[in-house]
């Protein structure tokens, strides 16, 4: 409960998703706390995934370059890429949700018609603002639980692309994390291969003239041992192999179906925030997005009222000082 209370009073969401507290000023404390909790969770999830990506970059950097500084650089680089890509996808989802909300809540034509009958040319700015706020409150009340249909054919395509992108990232991260989880066992297996008499005998076997299959094995054995040879001046830091592919093969053979399960778990981990944003009512149609849409709608209305007021003033001025009928109406020849 303490965890909930803290998460519902902090506002981490403003650093990533721009959850400004003034947007939620008119919302009940309980709902406000809930929205903070929701967006704080999303922010922490986001940073967790980015952290995984940074670790993945470091792991691959160590495996490929066997150098801490380069590995850290790659970790930061991969983390930055994932940061941008995940942020982009989160925002794309939120933008779609926001637009849906905006279009659902906004039916401006009947509203504008109402003002055509009123004498708004004499309204002050304050009066226009009050009217706007009144409309905003009405709209808020009318859309307590906004209801809209997400589905559009284009969303299938965009969602597919987003999911594929997320799966690619999750696949990269999953493999590197598996290397990290099992690097001790992998190193033991690699050492076993390195000292195996069969593979050593095969590598020392001279190439034959008539047996291409055997020659392939000899070359593969020689390559395998070469990849496992440690440079005395640059000893292995992480995985005791110079080949990522060889390490991957060892990992796949050793984990078997567990590797598939771990890959799926990582995919699930990366897809969870995406699905949440897409399907949870607290994001898609949540109070924060609703308030953001209301602010934008009230801005539109406010500027409509101000511009309409000025238009009418100008029209009145023209009618009083010029022959408006002659200017505006084209006479028949």
């Amino acid at each position: 409960m303490d965890h909930k209370l803290k998460l519902s009073t902090m506002n981490l969401g403003k650093y990533i998703f721009g959850v400004r507290e003034e947007y939620l000023a008119k919302v009940e404390e309980k709902e406000k706390g809930r929205q903070f909790l929701v967006y704080n969770n999303l922010t922490i999830m986001f940073f967790t995934l980015v952290s995984f990506s940074v670790i993945a970059g470091i792991v691959f950097g160590l495996m490929i370059f066997n150098h801490w500084l380069i590995a850290l650089g790659i970790g930061v680089f991969l983390g930055a890429i994932c940061f941008i890509l995940l942020l982009l996808m989160f925002f794309l989802n939120m933008t779609t949700n926001y637009q849906d909300l905006y279009l659902t809540m906004t039916e401006m034509e009947p509203t504008f018609e109402e003002y055509e009958k009123l004498e708004i040319e004499n309204w002050t700015d304050q009066k226009a603002l009050i009217e706007t706020e009144k409309r905003k409150s009405l709209l808020r009340e009318a859309n307590q639980i906004p209801n809209f249909d997400h589905f559009h054919f284009s969303s299938v395509i965009t969602s597919t692309i987003k999911v594929i992108l997320i799966l690619i990232i999750s696949c990269v991260v999953a493999n590197s994390m598996e290397f990290l989880f099992f690097y001790g066992s992998i190193n033991d297996s690699l050492m076993k291969i390195k000292s195996d008499p069969t593979i050593n005998a095969c590598a020392q076997h001279p190439l034959t003239e008539h047996n291409s299959e055997l020659n392939d094995k000899i070359v593969l054995a020689q390559w395998t041992l070469e990849m496992l040879k440690e440079d005395a001046e640059h000893p292995f830091i992480f995985i005791k192999s110079r080949s990522v592919l060889l390490t991957m093969q060892v990992l796949e053979m050793s984990l078997g179906n567990w590797k598939i399960l771990l890959d799926v778990l990582f995919a699930l981990l990366f897809l969870t925030p995406f699905v949440l944003l897409k399907k949870s009512r607290e994001y898609a149609g949540g109070l924060f997005l609703k308030e953001v849409a209301l602010v934008d709608i009230s801005h539109s209305l406010m500027f409509y009222l101000l511009s309409e007021r000025e238009r009418r003033k100008i029209l009145k001025h023209i009618k009083e000082h010029y022959d408006y009928e002659r200017l505006a109406i084209k006479k028949e020849e």
């Binding site: 066992s185 033991d188 069969t198 053979m253 078997g256 771990l262 699930l268 969870t272 009512r281």
Partner: protein
């Protein structure tokens, strides 16, 4: 309900993160990692493996459904190995192989064409021997003994090129005029042109052969299995044996090829002869490798 969706998803996410966290700790993941498949994978590097051959004898009619148009005959190749265990292989060969092998032998003046020609005829025998070796999980030396014992188990028969070469008296014994396997190893085959050696297939078919015939068959089988072997010849001893690498030590007899590579000698003319027993002569050289 919608809130539940958020709560459930949130817990799914954090439970997954917790699982990943636990996996970074030692001891919790040992059950997932099993490197027994690596041991299987390493076995693939065993040099005793099936050898793909271009079999020109199998004619394939490409205009119609693919089918083997050759007729096959069968031969049983059986023997006691050095441990006294009985082995029996029923292998197939294309009808007409014996004539084909003999005609090729008559026109060949070296060991190599005999090997090149007959390895195709013996393909099924070699395949089955490889299968047995793999099934028995024999090591390098065990596989060598398996093959050599199948040849050494056949009693010796002298093979000479002269048309009236049998019966005869040689330094190493008296030989009768019967060109067939005799328990005392005194059989003799004459007129085997051009230089008194049967081709490998002829030997497996007739089961009669002397030193170089045996060495050549052993070479054919083992070479096709991927072993580094040679047919070793001594001019001073008028004798041939099998040469093998990778085994043997300072006390074992050996010969060399033209580049100085060592082949340890394996006498094949007698079932009692095992690798490591002395082979006399000091001018052994690799005639075919």
């Amino acid at each position: 309900m919608k809130r539940n969706f958020f709560d459930v998803s949130r817990w799914v996410f954090w439970i997954l993160v917790a699982i990943m966290g636990i996996l970074t700790l030692p001891y919790f993941k040992n059950g997932l990692y099993n490197d027994s498949k690596i041991n299987e994978w390493v076995k693939n590097f065993d040099t005793i493996q099936p050898v793909p051959l271009q079999d020109t004898l199998i004619e394939i009619d490409t205009t119609g459904p693919v089918q083997d148009t050759l007729a096959y005959a069968f031969k049983v190749w059986d023997w006691h190995d050095f441990e006294g265990k009985w082995h029996s292989i029923r292998f197939k060969f294309p009808v007409g192989s014996l004539d084909s092998s003999m005609i090729n032998r008559i026109h060949s003046y070296e060991y190599k064409p005999l090997y090149e020609h007959d390895k195709r005829l013996l393909r099924d025998l070699i395949r089955q021997m490889k299968d047995e070796i793999n099934e028995a999980n024999l090591d390098y030396f065990g596989a060598l003994e398996y093959v050599c014992s199948s040849i050494q188990d056949i009693p010796y028969t002298l093979v000479v090129s002269e048309p009236d070469g049998c019966p005869c008296e040689k330094k190493f014994g008296s030989f009768s005029a019967y060109c067939r396997v005799q328990p005392d190893g005194q059989g003799c085959c004459e007129g085997v042109m051009p230089f008194g050696v049967y081709a490998p297939f002829e030997f497996t078919y007739k089961e009669t052969g002397d030193c170089d015939t045996r060495a050549l068959l052993a070479f054919t089988i083992l070479k096709e299995m991927g072993f580094d072997v040679a047919v070793m010849v001594s001019r001073s001893k008028h004798h041939s044996v099998l040469g093998v690498t990778k085994i043997g030590g300072p006390n074992n007899a050996y010969g060399r090829n033209a580049f100085g590579k060592k082949y340890y000698l394996w006498e094949l003319t007698n079932p009692d002869w095992r690798f490591g027993m002395n082979v006399s002569g000091n001018d052994w050289y690799a005639d075919l490798e």
